[in-house]
């Protein structure tokens, strides 16, 4: 594991630099501008020196030259201005372009993942990846890279000057390099630990805050403001403590460098002083040498300032890399094995062939299940919570793939149907509808502009949602805030039903979709669905048996297996598990419960 990490990191770095490649012209130009700006800056003293040494001694006759020199100086200043402006612009542009691309790619990659990925990765942390980690990468390109180039360049120049002045003293000065390395190594561990710890505490703080914000009305209803505030204080204080530890480590690190630099100057005076004393070289050389040693530490200090950014870049990069290297478990078929199924021509036969399925290895939830559904059949699936009903239909939508066996539509294994096509064939309405921020209109047509307003309104009328929508301030143009929080669960569900009508899938799955509807709305929806179900294969999961009483066939599930099937009457006549469930649903007193107690969940 420890050996694997650097490799991991190197690959991540290479991937990151891959993002910079399309912008290498901008980077090169930016670096060129940096050099030019530095050069223009460094040339300015030379002009002053020329004025002092050569022009002023000429007296009155030198005045025109002096004015010319002034003009040259002004010109250089303007050049420096222009190039330093361009440099920051170019680098920022490149950095921003990289981050934008990275964000889009990351988003694409995440949305390509199968559902098991989202089971493993909480949304909060994915959002952090999208916003914070990419932002850190931007800092890498705009700050760290710039500093590496600029300060590295300065460092090389200074070392060159030092050797040019006096090779022996310069060689002494080079002793500094291993010392600098040793200090960096010494602090590396402490800095990294401090960084990781504060980072971990930060994400705890974010998670706590996010959760409490979403549960705030509950906190208020239970009058727990004080208690939650106390808990927040604990988390916040721990974060403060970790931060202070990090501040101490960083300052100690930076100051040790500074101290080393100053000690080096003192040593230079000492050593060089003896050299001057023994008349090995002039004082002027020593003076210049001291200036350079002091300057030597400037870029080094600048570079160490970037240490933290570099650290966070590394962490962010590794995290992004981990996401990027996740392969979707549910994959589109290879082009050669793919079957082109036209969604319009699908008949709607469904076969579950001896399937086995588990979310986690070792805990199978569906055991060797066999189910064949005719085109256009209306199938109800019943069973207590945890019987495996939702898992069964998730497999049909290919949120997950089976461990064993196969799922087929019209005799084609769904693993050979491209997911885009499959999802046009299979429509799913879930218990908890999800609405996006946007207008009602856009929520029904899922932002597809090519679907006309008329079709949306027709669909809403069809499911009986138009009355409710008309009551909203702007009708169909009403913008939903924060996932439709202004609407009740039933109203949200009606909108998600309208979606189904608009998108016209050949196979329709309702997963407890009417649980949140009142009986009136449910009846409305029921009628609409009876009509919508015509010519479609329909699978309905319900724990209210009245919903599926008239189904062509009712599948009764228990502990991941099909235990009974048949229509309502034949199942009642069989007087088995279904009949037992049915009696319960009709008994408001719950007197006959003992028989099934402990079987749910």
């Amino acid at each position: 594991m420890a050996e694997e990490k650097p490799l991991h990191r190197r690959r991540a770095l290479r991937a990151l630099l891959g993002y910079a490649r399309p912008h290498r012209r901008k980077f090169l130009l930016g670096i060129l501008c940096t050099f030019l700006a530095i050069a223009a800056d460094l040339l300015q003293p030379v002009i002053v020196k020329t004025a002092i040494d050569d022009t002023i001694p000429l007296g009155e006759s030198g005045i025109p030259i002096l004015i010319g020199l002034g003009a040259a100086y002004a010109l250089l200043a303007i050049v420096a201005f222009v190039f330093s402006y361009w440099q920051s612009n170019l680098l920022q542009r490149a950095g921003q372009a990289i981050v934008a691309q990275l964000r889009k790619d990351l988003f694409r990659h995440i949305t390509n993942q199968s559902m098991s990925f989202f089971d493993r990765h909480p949304i909060g942390s994915l959002v952090t990846n999208e916003s914070n980690d990419t932002e850190t990468i931007n800092q890498f390109f705009t700050q760290v890279l710039l500093s590496l180039v600029r300060d590295g360049f300065m460092l090389v120049m200074i070392i060159g000057f030092m050797f040019w002045l006096d090779a022996e003293l310069a060689l002494y000065a080079m002793i500094l390099i291993p010392i600098i390395g040793a200090i960096a190594l010494l602090f590396r561990r402490a800095l990294r630990n401090a960084y990781h710890r504060s980072r971990a505490q930060l994400s705890r703080l974010i998670a706590f805050t996010a959760e409490n914000l979403s549960g705030m009305s509950l906190i208020q209803a239970f009058h727990q403001e004080e208690e939650q505030y106390r808990r927040f204080t604990d988390t916040n204080r721990t974060y403060l403590k970790e931060n202070l530890r990090e501040v101490r480590a960083t300052i100690l690190f930076n100051r040790s460098f500074e101290l080393l630099g100053n000690a080096a100057v003192a040593a230079a005076v000492w050593l060089g002083g003896y050299a001057v004393l023994h008349q090995k070289f002039e004082f002027g050389v020593l003076y210049a040498f001291i200036t350079y040693i002091r300057q030597f530490f400037q870029p080094i200090n600048q570079l160490t300032q970037q240490w933290n950014t570099l650290q966070s870049t590394m962490v962010s990069m590794e995290r992004l890399w981990r996401i990027f290297s996740a392969e979707p478990e549910v994959r589109d078929p290879e082009p050669e094995t793919a079957v082109a199924l036209s969604p319009e021509r699908v008949k709607g036969r469904i076969d579950f062939n001896q399937i086995r399925f588990s979310y986690l290895k070792g805990t199978e939830v569906l055991h060797d299940l066999d189910l064949h559904i005719r085109p256009g059949e209306f199938v109800g699936i019943v069973g207590v919570t945890g019987a495996g009903k939702s898992s069964l239909v998730s497999l049909l939508a290919r949120f997950y793939d089976v461990d064993h066996g196969s799922v087929e539509i019209d005799g084609v294994d769904i693993r050979r149907i491209p997911q885009g096509t499959l999802h046009r064939i299979v429509g799913l309405v879930q218990q908890e509808p999800f609405l996006f921020s946007g207008t009602i209109l856009d929520n029904v047509r899922l932002f597809r502009e090519e679907i006309g307003r008329e079709r949306v309104i027709e669909a809403c009328r069809f499911v009986g949602a138009d009355e409710m929508i008309a009551r909203l301030p702007d009708g169909y143009e009403t913008r939903l805030s924060e996932r439709g929080s202004g609407l009740s669960a039933g109203e949200r569900q009606l909108i998600s039903f309208a979606r189904i009508i608009v998108f016209q899938p050949k196979i329709l799955i309702l997963d407890e979709a009417t649980a949140n509807l009142d009986s009136h709305t449910e009846r409305l929806v029921q009628q609409a669905l009876d009509r919508a179900a015509r010519g479609r294969t329909t699978l309905v999961i319900a724990h209210r048996l009245s919903t599926i009483r008239h189904a062509d066939r009712i599948i009764v599930m228990r502990d991941g297996r099909i235990v009974e099937q048949g229509n309502h009457e034949s199942l009642l006549a069989a007087n088995g598990y279904y009949a037992e469930l049915y009696r319960h649903s009709r008994s408001p007193h719950g007197l006959e419960l003992t028989a099934v107690k402990g079987k749910e969940d």
């Binding site: 002023i56 002004a74 200043a77 501040v247 100053n262 001291i290 805030s481 449910e522």
Partner: protein, 582 residues
């Protein structure tokens, strides 16, 4: 930053430490300024031939002392500063969280969690960085600037020459006032577009199932991509502005040097200025350039932070829309009767009222069922009773007192509430159930879990009641969540209990068991049951049928069935009539 509330408070609280930090950074700079004199002394000795081995050692040691002194002093200043910055961050987050707990659900849901989080995270951090780094750099720059100006004035260079040379630097205040507000405005836009992207990502990941089911990934990508591009546009504009600003400050410095060199040079060649003064002048002007640039940096930093600071101060200055009124009194002990008189309520920003002319009297200890279609106003009623939204004055009375004139604390302690969605926190199950008082003994927690019929499930988990929930823990099914949330409401044993469609995700078998438990434990206590299913309310003392925000039928189950109106129709639809008759 002068007028904004958070920063002055910080300065006021820690002025002593800030002074200390400024002093030690200042002292560090003064110590640093001794450098040239040691070297000068060394040079003089070389020139006069008085250099000895002892003098070389002494100079070396003196330089070492200066270097160490500088490092320590500067380090202290820097540490104090960063520490204070972190304190600022800490206390601002404390204030924000406290503030959030006082804001109403209406306000919070309007703003969205992503946006609120960006206040707590990025805005606070931006301000902290600008205070800490800005203070360090500013102190440094000011001390440097002041000492350079002092030396310049004492140098004996003729004042007119000095004045004219320094003149181009006079452009700096103008540059600052021109660019400052523009940079700030643009920073605000960048911050907002970042928040918009975060929000979009959160939403799209949350809705991934829908997106996948309808094969709408490309549209999701396009929508997200737009928010990404918007950040980029705003960033570009910001970079152009701040780049110009930052590059223009050294330009002003260079222009000063151009003037000094040309005019000063002419004066020297005319013999009106000594060469020594000329050299000094150019050196000083170069020295001045560094702090000027630093000041520019600080201003840039502060302007960026000001946008964030304004957002924070704006947020903190929002007055909670639901708060104790002046003279609010606690509810009388054990108040459990509810009286609603002519209640009409419209949600803020909505055109039509959600409730119209509601009159309802619920005697202490009664059980009332409220049924009605989706959107008929049942949940609104529950929220008004809890004052999650404020009802009009004089419309809701509990224990004979207008709830607008009672303290929120007493109102909310008297009411137990079980919401529709069964929201649970990422702590242990025991902690979630004992939410109203975390110190509840284990037996009571277990008892509540039994009543809500979730006990068997909980003890089936590896850590039982100590099982952690949430992102890093166990995920409960919808039904388990609702039942845990029910236990949380029941353990409170409040005089009034409101169940807002609390068992909708529970299968029928379990529901009937829960309802039976409920009837037993709530005997003699006021209970409001909001439901879709007739079975949940049929045993209530009074059943109210709501439609379009009005009460359309009321009575007992028997009366309503005889009335043969909407209630009876609902009962028939749910196929319960046979049971009732039989």
């Amino acid at each position: 930053m002068g007028k904004s509330g958070l920063v002055p408070a910080q300065l006021k609280k820690y002025w002593f430490w800030y002074l200390l930090a400024a002093l030690s950074i200042g002292a560090a700079n003064v110590v640093h300024a001794l450098y040239p004199s040691v070297l000068g002394d060394f040079a003089d000795r070389v020139e006069s031939g008085g250099l000895t081995a002892a003098a070389v050692r002494a100079s070396g040691l003196r330089l070492l002392a200066i270097g160490a002194g500088y490092c320590v002093l500067f380090g202290i200043g820097q540490y104090i500063n960063h520490r204070l910055g972190r304190y600022f961050e800490f206390s601002t987050r404390q204030k924000l969280f406290r503030h959030f707990t006082n804001l109403s659900e209406a306000w919070l849901s309007k703003n969205g969690i992503g946006k609120l989080l960006s206040y707590v995270m990025s805005d606070v951090t931006t301000v902290r960085e600008s205070i800490a780094n800005g203070f360090n750099q500013l102190t440094n720059a000011v001390v440097l600037l002041m000492s350079t100006v002092t030396i310049m004035l004492l140098s004996g260079i003729p004042l007119p020459v000095l004045a004219v040379s320094v003149l181009p630097l006079g452009a700096i205040p103008f540059l600052v006032t021109y660019f400052g507000p523009r940079i700030r405005g643009q920073s605000l836009k960048v911050q907002e577009s970042l928040a918009a992207m975060t929000e979009s990502a959160e939403e799209q990941f949350g809705g991934i199932r829908v997106t996948k089911t309808f094969a709408a990934e490309e549209i999701a990508r396009a929508r997200f991509g737009e928010t990404v591009d918007r950040i980029r546009e705003h960033q570009h504009r910001l970079v152009r502005l701040s780049g110009k600003f930052q590059a223009s400050l050294p330009l002003a410095g260079a222009m000063a040097l151009v003037v000094a060199m040309t005019w000063g040079g002419v004066l020297v060649s005319q013999g009106k200025l000594s060469l020594g003064h000329f050299v000094e002048l150019t050196l000083y002007l170069r020295m001045i350039a560094t702090p000027l640039q630093q000041i520019g940096n600080v201003i840039n930093l502060v302007q960026r932070a000001r946008a964030s600071l304004e957002r924070l101060n704006g947020l903190l200055s929002i007055r909670p829309d639901i708060a104790d009124e002046e003279g609010a009194r606690p509810l009388p002990e054990g108040a459990a009767s509810i009286e609603i008189r002519g209640l009409t309520f419209t949600y803020p920003g909505a055109r039509r009222p959600a409730l119209t002319g509601i009159d309802l009297e619920i005697g202490a200890g009664k059980t009332v069922g409220i049924v009605g279609r989706t959107g008929s106003g049942k949940t609104t009623l529950a929220k008004l009773l809890l004052r999650i939204y404020d009802p009009p004055r004089g419309s809701i009375w509990i224990g004979g007192r207008d709830i607008r004139q009672t303290t929120l604390e007493s109102l909310r302690t008297s009411i137990g509430y079980v919401p529709q969605d069964g929201f649970l926190f990422s702590t242990t199950i025991a902690d979630n159930i004992a939410f109203h008082n975390r110190a509840e003994p284990r037996e009571r927690i277990e008892h509540a879990a039994r009543l809500a019929d979730v006990y068997e499930n909980i003890i089936g988990f590896p850590d039982g009641f100590e099982t952690k929930l949430g992102e890093r823990g166990l995920t409960l099914s919808g039904g388990q969540r609702q039942r845990t949330s029910l236990a949380r409401g029941l353990i409170k044993e409040a005089p009034i209990l409101i169940l807002d469609d609390s068992v909708s995700a529970v299968d029928t078998v379990t529901e009937s068991r829960i309802l039976r438990n409920l009837r037993e434990t709530r005997r003699g206590k006021t209970t409001l049951i909001i439901a879709h299913r007739i079975s949940a309310v049929m045993h209530a003392d009074l059943i109210v049928v709501m439609e379009g925000g009005r009460i359309v039928e009321r009575g007992t189950h028997r009366e309503l069935m005889e009335l043969d109106g909407r209630y009876a129709a609902m009962a028939r639809m749910q196929g319960e009539e046979a049971v009732v008759r039989g």
